[in-house]
Symmetry: D2
Subunit: 108 residues, 4 copies
């Protein structure tokens, strides 16, 4: 059960009074900085994390909690998990698998 | 931090060889049957759970794990959390809040 | 391509200055009232719509646009589509399929 | 209404009989190649597209349809839209906004 999964975490602080929330998102993401057992990257729509599922859920719960400590009263959080057991998957591997096939399709 | 949240859990068993997966979903949902501290309901697209966030994440991880025990090799799971701290929210309360305002809009 | 799909639409008006947004959601959902070719229901986390994909995307785009007309400056919308071509699916049928198997599992 | 939005599209071909689906995802993504009015990038969990909402929904519907033409019988597709009207947003701009604030938080 301690296999590596790829997960996508989106934190949406609601009702803040202003459309921009990147300062809050940065605070959430900073919780991943130096965290053991995981690697992560920021994409335009989410933070993608690679690591053991339990660890990722624990960190996602902390990220979800953070905006409340800054006075936000409602947070909507999405966690999307991709867990494959027939072979090891990595964040880079998933992108490469699509891009390589995309290249082949383009040549055809 | 032990407030009640509403969460939506979607389990997608991948690569099963057949489009129908409701038997696997039923197995996942049966893990909620009799679970303490939560209430839940099945909707056409997900299972909605009301309870403490930690408890829901723990149960969602078990639901996510179940299809692997039935031979499935890849599971994609989505967890969507709505957490509001200014007032208590419930599954029924959220639907009623929309339906009542919908009724008023209809009358206007 | 004009098969019936089941879709879930979530509209999140951001930055409104208050955690509650059910009046805006009700306005969005009211656009479905009397809409041809579809049936729909409100769940605690989303609006579920059954109908042709093109029609649903058209309505979801209108729902997504509505909060801007009320002064909201940012809207995050999720559309989740389940499209099965081997047999007709319905909102009620999907819930029943899980609940019946859940009942059998319970008896076992 | 013709503002630029950022959207994330995830195509999940179900029941294919094998856990890997990157060849199908590559086929879906290849539909974006050379498409007018949009820019896009592949992330580990999704394809992110920047452009007018109507155009993105049109392309997402085509991506969703593609696996059926390859014999897949069920496709679950998620479209997540971020639409901000107070200022122009771009895929890169969103990532930079978080990373810059992350850098500042790190220095503090």
């Amino acid at each position: 059960m301690n296999t590596t999964v790829i997960a996508e975490v989106k934190i949406l602080p609601m009702g803040t009074g202003q459309p921009g929330v990147s300062h809050l998102i940065a605070d959430c993401v900073s919780l991943l900085d130096g965290a053991k057992d995981i690697t992560w990257q920021v994409t335009p729509m989410a933070t993608v994390i690679e690591g053991p599922l339990e660890r990722i859920l624990e960190l996602a719960a902390k990220m979800h909690e953070l905006p409340f400590s800054k006075g936000v009263q409602r947070v909507v959080t999405s966690i999307n998990i991709d867990d494959r057991r027939d072979k090891k998957i990595t964040m880079n591997g998933k992108v490469k698998a699509v891009e390589e096939k995309l290249g082949e399709a383009g040549k055809a």
